[in-house]
């Protein structure tokens, strides 16, 4: 399959895929909470654009509903909710990573390459022109996980979790024209509930241990040091 043989909208979807990966890198590199949330919103917007394009180019109109859900939840509601939380908890400027940022970036690059390597055999199963994006989606998922591991603050970890979900959603959209509607609605609803639950948990954690730094949970260890 040659790149030049793809239609323009398919090329555009591939470009959007690359941009989504880039936004994942940006999420990993952001050190300020508010810009982190904004970047997450941007990732949602890119996802929305990719879904709309996919829906219109493939004629699978149920994807429009997914796109609308993405727009509503991931671009507006969840970022707005998180932002409100951050403002109320007053952690707008906290800078918190574990390990050097450049090292994390290198790890993310290596993860991308690794997911490409892993996906190579799977890729042959899909017949879609956009199947090359499976590697990208896997990379987005893995980078989301890396973000959960390397961040100290619970809010950033939640964003990492959400961006993992973005990766899964993207994989479903571009490689198989989306999951069945029921599943998709369910997942969207889950994410929404998760966002609200996390919000409640943040307050609980903070009133419990006096901080949102999850390293403080180390106290709960079984073994006394």
């Amino acid at each position: 399959m040659n790149f030049a043989m793809l239609t323009l909208s398919e090329q555009l979807i591939l470009t959007l895929a690359a941009l989504i990966l880039f936004s994942s890198f940006l999420l990993l590199a952001q050190s300020r909470m508010v810009s982190l949330i904004h970047t997450f919103a941007w990732q949602g917007a890119l996802l929305f654009a990719a879904t709309v394009l996919m829906a219109s180019s493939s004629g699978h109109h149920h994807l429009f509903i997914s796109a609308a859900l993405t727009l509503g939840l991931k671009v507006f509601f969840i970022p707005w909710q998180l932002r409100r939380l951050v403002v109320r908890l007053d952690i707008r400027r906290s800078v918190e990573t574990v390990g050097g940022p450049s090292l994390i970036m290198i790890a993310a690059g290596a993860l991308t390459l690794f997911s490409y390597y892993v996906v190579l055999p799977i890729r042959e199963l899909s017949l879609l022109a956009t199947r090359n994006t499976i590697a990208i989606s896997l990379a987005v998922i893995l980078i989301g996980m890396l973000m959960i591991i390397t961040r100290r603050k619970a809010v950033a970890q939640v964003i990492g979790f959400m961006s993992m979900e973005n990766g899964l959603f993207f994989a479903a959209v571009v490689s198989t024209y989306g999951m069945p509607m029921v599943v998709e609605l369910g997942v969207a609803f889950d994410v929404l509930v998760a966002a609200i639950l996390f919000g409640i948990f943040f307050f609980q954690i903070r009133s419990g241990i006096g901080s949102l730094d999850v390293d403080h949970l180390n106290r709960l260890t079984e073994v006394d040091k």
Partner: protein, 668 residues
């Protein structure tokens, strides 16, 4: 014909080593004659090597010496000829440089005979090594080279740091030698003979092939100084006399690369691409860490020694690319990588020797090792400064000098990564190329620092202010190398054409495309893919210069140049303490890459004698994290083992008794 001349070179070098014991009373005689013999040996080696390389012929001779069942085989093929020529060239240049440089030792009352003897042995060891065609003579010449260079490192043995550096050097050289010996052992076991021709025909299983390769990689890498086997290098090179440092850094490391190429290309031959990946990664790490560590050094020669690690890394990047391409069935690209690596061997020998000779001249005249105490030397040593500048430009890989050409070829080889089937490899290789680019740019920063702090600005010590120009012999040696740097930078097409003979020998594939567009253009893949017209670039530069100069020269009369004190934004009179120091120059880089070095930065409070002052200590992770723990482990193990040394005579007798019993049991 070339082989007898090469033999003559060996004999001449050995003669120069034998002079002091023979004519112990006539000091002036052997002092001058030894260097003349060494120079003649070098020139004949260049002649022999170059003719073997250009004529592309291989000769072999079996001498009736050696072990009873193994006569010594010596051979001269293009690969050996190339390295023989490099060794010879630097040796002959050093012979011009040496007499004046050694005068300093004489004035200090150091004995000259050991220096002369071991220089001769060292050079003849390297000559023999390139010529050796069986494992036995190879190892004998290898040890001759290692041990004589040990004595050269320890030459000024009244300093404690020289002794410890030499000890580490000897230790690592022996461990490396052991690995190489084992590697040869594997090949000889399967090939049924110690001659290289028997080893080359050995049929090995892939597992044994990889074991032999790894042994050779570690053994030769130990001598070549790849990360993390490099720790002896920055300690040993700075303490040797400068012309010996030039030989060690410029040539001995190349001889180790020669051994690696000989072992893996001509004896093993059947490449696995995984080896190439290993070599590529180790090479990239060496290049990057070498230059980063070099940036933090203030001792001029130690800085240059770390740059040797960097350049060996660049050579290994070329070799790694070549092995990857060879292992995946792209022989013409493999040839490109190999030629790039070989070209960089030549270039590094030239500019690193030039820089070490220049550093030696600076050290001798300013009596300083520390860059922070030099400065302004361009006014007092203009000739040395000019040659050193050429060396700096060459090592920073800037056109139109020679360092650029080999890095450019390496880039071109790396850009062919996408031809590989595996996308992962295909994208790893350009990243290695980006590391190479970072290395080159950091090297440029480092040499701006070196040249700016040592030669420009105001003198930072009384001795630096009183320095005088180096003597004629030393200047001549530097001029020859500087001209070579320019020559090999401007005539890459011819050089690549000659070097492709070696790749034809080793990979049965030359680089016909590279020289296809005429002598002016270097086109490694095809004219459309990439081209570099080095002579035209030089011409263009000269033309642009000429036009600019012709344009502005007439204005000189109208607007005369006025000499005035420096402006410095109107601040008060300038003094040497207000200049940027080497430490200050590298501060931004230290801050950006700070996890790379174990460093301690502190402000020492003022006391009765000295005002408040700044102290910075930069170490080496490899030393602190690998070698020190290893050394402690060994010491602890040795302490355990020392329990058997009871000190009681009856215990020792019992040992002998049990040994006797054991031997009898084995024999029966």
């Amino acid at each position: 014909m070339p082989l007898p001349i090469a033999q003559l070179a060996v004999v001449l070098a050995l003669c120069s080593a034998l002079l002091p014991p023979l004519f112990y009373r006539f000091r002036h005689l052997y002092k001058t004659l030894a260097f003349i013999l060494l120079g003649l040996a070098g020139i004949s080696a260049v002649f022999a090597g170059a003719s073997a390389l250009i004529l592309r012929q291989a000769e072999q001779i079996i001498l009736p010496v050696g072990l009873p069942w193994l006569r010594s085989h010596f051979a001269l093929d293009p690969l050996a000829g190339f390295f023989l020529a490099i060794v010879g060239l630097i040796t002959s240049v050093v012979a011009f440089y040496g007499p004046a440089y050694c005068r300093e030792y004489e004035e200090d009352g150091q004995p000259l005979p050991p220096l002369t003897i071991f220089s001769g042995l060292f050079v003849s060891g390297m000559f023999l090594l390139t010529l050796a065609a069986d494992a036995f003579s190879f190892m004998v010449s290898w040890e001759l080279m290692s041990i004589s260079s040990y004595f050269l490192v320890v030459y000024q043995h009244h300093r404690a740091e020289n002794r410890s550096a030499a000890f580490i050097y000897l230790l690592m050289a022996q461990v490396g030698g052991l690995c190489i010996l084992l590697g040869f052992g594997v090949l000889a076991g399967f090939g049924g003979g110690f001659a290289f021709s028997a080893m080359a025909s050995a049929q090995l299983s892939p597992g044994w092939e990889t074991i032999a390769f790894l042994l050779a990689f570690v053994g030769f890498g130990m001598k070549a100084g790849v990360v993390p086997l490099h720790v002896w290098l920055p300690q040993a090179h700075p303490v040797a006399p400068s012309h010996i440092s030039a030989l060690m850094s410029g040539v001995m490391l190349k001889v180790a690369v020669y051994g690696f190429i000989r072992f893996s290309y001509s004896l093993l031959g059947n490449f696995h691409w995984q080896w190439g990946v290993l070599v590529l990664i180790v090479g990239a790490a060496s290049a990057l860490l070498g230059v980063l560590y070099a940036l933090m050094q203030h001792d001029l020669k130690r800085l240059l020694a770390y740059h040797s690690v960097e350049n060996i890394g660049i050579i290994y990047i070329g070799l790694g690319l070549s092995m990857i391409f060879a292992g995946t069935g792209h022989p013409s690209l493999a040839a490109l990588g190999l030629v790039a690596a070989l070209y960089h061997c030549l270039n590094h020998a030239l500019f690193k020797s030039l820089l070490f000779l220049g550093a030696g001249a600076v050290l001798q005249r300013s009596k300083q090792h520390d860059m922070e105490k030099m400065g302004g030397l361009i006014h007092r040593m203009p000739f040395t400064a000019g040659c050193f500048l050429i060396g700096c430009i060459s090592i920073s890989a800037l056109p139109p000098f020679n360092g650029f050409v080999s890095e450019w070829l390496t880039f071109q080889a790396a850009l062919q990564g996408p031809v590989l089937e595996s996308g992962v490899l295909g994208s790893l290789i350009p990243v290695a190329a980006a590391v190479l680019a970072l290395t080159g740019a950091l090297a440029a920063a480092c040499f701006v620092k070196v040249f700016g702090v040592v030669f420009l600005g105001l003198p930072r010590s009384v001795q630096a202010a009183a320095a005088v120009e180096a003597s004629y012999g030393m200047r001549f040696a530097q001029a020859v190398l500087a001209l070579c740097c320019l020559g090999f930078g401007v005539m890459p097409t011819w050089t690549v054409g000659v070097l492709s003979g070696i790749s034809e020998l080793l990979l049965h594939q030359g680089l016909p495309e590279a020289t296809a567009s005429g002598g002016l253009w270097l086109t490694p893949i095809s004219p459309a893919a990439a081209s570099y017209g080095a002579p035209m670039v030089l011409l263009g530069l000269a033309l642009a210069w000429l036009i600019t100069w012709l344009w502005f020269h007439p204005q000189r009369r109208r607007t005369p140049t006025r000499i005035a004190p420096p402006w410095d934004c109107g601040f008060g009179p300038l003094n040497a303490r207000m200049q940027y120091t080497a430490t200050a120059f590298s501060m931004p880089i230290r801050r950006i890459f700070s996890p790379v070095w174990p460093h301690k930065e502190e402000l020492l409070p003022a006391d009765a004698e000295q005002p408040e002052r700044y102290s910075l200590q930069v170490g080496d992770w490899a030393w602190q994290k690998i070698y020190l723990p290893l050394g402690q482990l060994l010491l602890a193990a040795a302490k355990r083992a020392a329990m058997i040394q009871g000190g009681n005579i009856r215990v020792y007798l019992a040992y002998s008794f049990f040994t006797l019993l054991f031997i009898l049991w084995v024999l029966v």
